[in-house]
């Protein structure tokens, strides 16, 4: 049975002057999938995210969300339609407590404080941050900040969650925890698009992987197909994976 197409990106390009940060990128994401986007630094992964979520206005191409055209839509409208994201550099509100941060996210669905607080507490229980709900955002470790950012994104009650390098800079233990959290989020029926450099995690969680290089999509496939593709090894993964694939 075919699943619904959640995100449909067609011919997406983003030019900065004469430089194409993204060039003619096509891909789709089905409902309930985890799709990873990998590629070397400067490949255009974050630009792609920014174009899809309204933070950049794409130069050409089209992005649809459940059939609805969201190309060049304002970022906050994209959120209210049901696409949430995190940033490579953690974005939290530093003079708010953990709970208030998550409440602010929930308010896109609730006009009043109380239901937003109930929802925020429910989400903090889910993500395992409830014990730290009264801490200031700035008092958290990097791993907890990333977990908080994911909680804030979940609080907007999205249908798609887009994570931009949620695993960078974490210890092995913290990495395991965030992978478990992602799996748990997925079990709830969430669709995920993930930009990630940690290949072990990409291999473990992804249904499909999209590889970008110099702004172009060079390959798409299952994690296994991707790590054994010579072009991907050449552009990104390096010889460690050449040995594995032979």
């Amino acid at each position: 049975m075919n699943k619904a197409i959640c995100l449909d990106v067609k011919g997406l390009s983003k030019w900065f002057g004469g430089l194409a940060a993204c060039l003619d990128i096509d891909f789709t994401v089905e409902e309930g999938e985890i799709v990873s986007v990998i590629g070397p630094n400067g490949a255009g992964k974050t630009t792609l995210f920014n174009c899809m979520t309204g933070f950049y206005k794409s130069s050409s191409g089209k992005v649809s969300f459940y059939g609805r055209d969201i190309t060049r839509m304002r970022a906050d409208k994209v959120v209210s339609l049901g696409i949430a994201r995190t940033f490579q550099i953690v974005q939290i509100i530093s003079d708010m407590t953990v709970l208030e941060n998550v409440m602010t996210g929930a308010m896109v669905r609730y006009a009043r404080i109380k239901p937003a607080m109930d929802k925020a507490e429910e989400i903090l229980n889910f993500t395992g941050l409830y014990e730290k709900k009264d801490f200031l955002g700035t008092e958290l470790t990097i791993a907890d900040k990333k977990r908080l950012e994911v909680s804030m994104a979940l609080a907007t009650q999205p249908r798609v969650l887009m994570l931009d390098e949620s695993m960078a800079g974490l210890t092995i233990v913290e990495l395991r925890q965030i992978i478990e959290l992602i799996k748990k989020i997925r079990q709830g029926g969430m669709t995920l698009v993930v930009v990630e450099h940690v290949m072990e995690a990409v291999m473990e969680i992804s249904d499909r992987v999209i590889v970008l290089n110099s702004g172009k999509k060079i390959m798409e496939g299952t994690p296994k197909e991707v790590v054994s593709n010579p072009e991907v090894i050449q552009a990104y993964l390096g010889d460690k994976y050449r040995a594995v694939s032979q």
């Binding site: 509100i93 602010t104 308010m107 937003a116 804030m152």
Partner: protein, 321 residues
């Protein structure tokens, strides 16, 4: 934003009772005049607090809204005999609309860029009024003497009615700020203050909420402006639109504790009496001395207590607990 603790409620009630009783005990006009200024700057500070302290738009141009309020009600009274209370509302709405008109094109300006734009805007408004014949240009407006009554917003025999009116305005401003701080709006303003990106990614329409903050601030500032016009009965661009007024508003809010509801009131209560007393006792030495003391105070506060006097008080409060 937490709701008030029991101790804060008691402190608020005690302060209010003291404020109500003060002019009955101290009947000299000077202390009453100083407190009237404290409350008036408290209202201005509350407006600034909403847009600066909460929403992070550091305006150095509040005098423009103060002046627009003063001019609107005075102009309407002089030329069309419009009651000052109606003039107050019209002035507030005018200031809010002007605020939105200038705020919209400034939607992407943050931090010091916004501050610079606000100074430029306020100076342009001042220069326009300084040369605008219709509103008296540099000569300003002298309000007509009306019979003394609450309906006329004019009293000649005593400062007491002015005292209670501006106290009521201050309570309205505090209530507005409290409402904002404890509602969705307050959370969204704080998100915007952190960064536009974090606000947008949480689904906040940054442009709309910034405009709301600016308009509330514009309205409150204009209320204070109409009060000033009715109190002094004479306005000119020098007295209601000068940059030092805007700076004073910022200092009061920062010193008291920007981003805390009561911060600007504390700031006004500390700074205005110092300004008035130093002006009177040291004024003959030149105008700079009170500003020197301000400068010194601001340096002390920003070095040792960036959260302002309120931050100092609440950290002491926590230790006592």
């Amino acid at each position: 934003m937490n709701h008030l603790t029991k101790r804060q409620k008691i402190a608020a009630v005690v302060t209010l009772v003291l404020a109500l009783a003060f002019p009955l005990v101290f009947t000299d006009t000077f202390p009453i005049h100083v407190l009237i200024l404290v409350y008036m700057f408290g209202v201005l500070g509350m407006g600034w607090n909403i847009m600066g302290g909460y929403a992070g738009m550091f305006s150095f141009g509040q005098a423009a809204f103060f002046g627009i309020g003063a001019y609107t009600s005075s102009f309407l009274l002089m030329n069309f005999g419009v009651n000052p209370w109606i003039g107050l509302v019209v002035g507030g709405i005018t200031a809010a609309l002007v605020a939105a008109a200038i705020g919209y094109p400034c939607s992407n300006l943050r931090g010091h860029y916004f501050a610079i734009a606000s100074i430029a805007f306020a100076e342009i408004v001042r220069v326009v009024f300084n040369n605008w014949k219709l509103v008296g240009a540099a000569e300003g407006l002298s309000l007509p003497m009306l019979d003394e009554s609450f309906a006329n917003f004019m009293f000649h025999s005593s400062k007491l009615p002015y005292y209670y009116i501006i106290l009521a305005f201050l309570l309205i401003a505090i209530a507005t700020c409290y409402f904002v701080a404890t509602s969705k709006m307050g959370y969204y303003f704080r998100a915007i203050k952190e960064s536009h990106e974090v606000a947008e990614v949480l689904g906040v329409n940054v442009v709309r909420y910034r405009l709301i903050a600016i308009m509330i601030a514009g309205f409150l500032s204009a209320m204070a402006g109409t009060f000033y016009a009715q109190y002094i009965l004479y306005i000119d661009p020098e007295s209601v639109m000068l940059l030092p007024i805007s700076v004073q508003v910022v200092l009061i809010s920062m010193l008291g504790g920007a981003g805390a509801v009561i911060g600007p009131v504390i700031g006004a209560a500390v700074l205005i009496p110092i300004a008035e007393y130093t002006r009177i006792t040291l004024g003959h030495q030149g105008t700079g001395v009170d500003m020197l003391i301000y400068g010194f105070l601001i340096m002390l506060i920003s070095m040792y207590q960036p959260a302002g006097v309120w931050g100092l008080l609440s950290s002491i409060g926590k230790k006592v607990k």
